[in-house]
Amino acid sequence: MQSSSFPTDSGRSVFYADKAHMETARILDHRSIAEQTYRLRMECPTIADRIVPGQFVMLRIPACNDPLLGRPLALYDTVFDPAGRVVGLDIVYCVIGKMTRLLAGQRSGDPIDVWGPLGNGFPPLVCRHLLLVAGGIGQTPFYSLAKERLGQKVYGNRSRSVPRVEKVTLCYGVRSANFLAGVAEFQDAGIQVEICTEDGSIGHRGLVTESLQAILSESNEDCHIVCCGPEPMLEATARIAATWNVPCDVSLETPMACGIGLCFSCVVKIRQPDGGWDYQRACVHGPVFDATKIVW
């Protein structure tokens, strides 16, 4: 079993939140960008200076005991002032429970507890065509990823170097047109967006995996798939990727109590070299995993 032994894990190194910082940040901007979907901008330069695509922060309403715990939210984008200094970061969330309902009531100027960056971020993803597959709010980690890999923006350490890609396509599935968030931003960044809705109100009527199939049937050459969304969608995408012999990583939205590696809540069944499986913590070993390693 490797799940809790340190200092290293076979393959990817275990992240121990060593660059994490905790502060009470000020909300700079908070706005609705789609049905039940908000973008929250926080003033937290230290975290924003360190975070890279695929990592997350924990957010908590200060001194609030119900909800008690923080919530993990993926980096959407970092924010700079006109002088080019990093100021804060954006997260995008959908109102689904007690915490997000309360969060939606927070206004500009209000304090919010935030700690991060947490998790490992995306792996190198060496390819020509990056295929992003998102279900619902699962699109949020992909905006910064696409901008970084298209060479438009640098995240984290200024000397950080990541492989460039030539093309990014986002297959984006939502229930209905009014849940689409940030499509124009993705398109402005040169990302091809394929929209799917369950009700057919816009784009392709059906599942996002159908769009993915259509793209792969045109060409599966030098592609890499990254997927984020509900688990059935992740599993279906992983199956399609295997069929087309395309590498696939999934970013998991596993419930977490701490996000740091303390609680052992967010465990995922991961295949082991001996043919068995073991639970690994999504917060310190993920949240991005090679899809072939997950026991669905």
Binding site: M1, Q2, S3, S4, S5, F6, P7, Y16, A17, D18, K19, A20, H21, M22, R60, N65, D66, P67, L68, L69, G70, D113, W115, T254, P255, A257, C258, I260, G261, L262, C263, F264, S265, V267, D278, Y279, V284
Partner: protein
């Protein structure tokens, strides 16, 4: 009286700690995870996640569910086993220079004794003692038969005595609140020779999705922790303090220096911060910063001077 005059050292049986602020097993990983948030050297003691003789995968997800001011968990003692702990984790912990109390859980008395013996041996063979003590987790509600030693006073006393005989290290018995009489259990642990009694572990509970008619936890039942259980923990500490002279370590929903002071006044000589580490990873540092002023406000020069000073006016 100034902050500099305050003595934070505490003595619990044979166990001496630099200050009374510890972290509870299962809420602090193996300490390494917290380096970015906590100056580990400042802690009064660290109790890493419970280890068992053999590796355990733990319970199926969902393993935690948030409830009003609380957290239900059924992690199920997910750990890599005693030998992995000794090889990979103990050397790191030993380097910290902080009292480390290994939390152990056995399926039976033989396993508890084996764990206590093996860890005592590993602790002393590295030259400098790497463990300050052993905490017996006889109270985890998430493993079958895990609580027998915590609910039956006779078994509890025997187990504590056997572990005490098997190890030269100070022994802490961590008790469950899920009993009719916490006093009977505290007396039993004391009679067995425990250097200190830690209480409380989590309160057995459950959460239900009524629409799906399903339990929310993968293991159906779980242990409740967090601010929701603080009044129960205070009650248990106060009752146990009436029942025994053995030192008490208070645990249960402690999140601030005021919470710590309440536990000291109730009869605890030290405290463990648990669930708060999940939602405020800096909580231990905040408490340590504020503790000297709180003791000064109480008009005492040491933690011991405030322990068990609750005044109850007889009716």
């Amino acid at each position: 009286m100034t902050r500099a005059d305050i003595d934070l050292q505490v003595q619990l049986g044979r166990l001496q700690l630099p200050n009374p602020i510890l972290v509870a097993s299962g809420t602090f990983g193996y300490a390494r995870e917290m380096e970015a948030f906590v100056d580990l050297k400042r802690l009064g003691g660290i109790i890493p996640k419970t280890i068992t003789k053999e590796p355990r995968k733990g319970n199926p997800p969902l393993r935690t569910v948030e409830t009003a001011a609380g957290l239900l968990n059924s992690i199920g003692l997910d750990n890599d086993g005693m030998e992995q702990f000794i090889v990979h984790i103990l050397p790191y912990l030993a380097e910290l220079g902080v009292p480390i109390l290994a939390s152990i859980a056995g399926r039976n008395q033989t396993e508890f004794v084996e764990l206590a013996e093996r860890l005592s041996h590993a602790s002393t063979t590295s030259g400098q003692a790497s463990l300050a003590g052993i905490e017996l987790n006889i109270s985890c509600p998430n493993v079958s038969h895990g609580v027998d030693f915590g609910t039956d006073p006779i078994q509890c006393e025997r187990l504590v005595a056997a572990c005490r005989a098997a190890s030269a290290l100070p022994i802490v018995a961590k008790l469950t609140p899920n009993v009719t009489s916490i006093c009977d259990m505290a007396r039993a642990a004391s009679a067995g020779g425990a250097d200190a009694i830690a209480l409380i572990n989590t309160c057995l509970g459950m959460a239900i999705d009524w629409r799906g008619r399903r339990p929310r936890l993968g293991n159906v039942l779980g242990g409740l922790s967090g601010p929701a259980i603080k009044p129960i923990a205070l009650r248990c500490v106060w009752q146990a303090a009436q029942a025994t002279k053995t030192a008490i370590i208070g645990i249960g929903g402690i999140a601030s220096v005021d919470d710590c002071m309440e536990f000291f006044v109730a009869g605890a000589s030290a405290v463990q911060l648990g669930t708060v580490n999940f939602y405020n990873p800096r909580a231990t540092m905040d408490v340590l910063d504020a503790l000297p002023d709180a003791l000064a406000e109480a008009g005492v020069l040491s933690v011991a001077d405030v322990v068990g000073t609750l005044q109850v006016i007889p009716s």
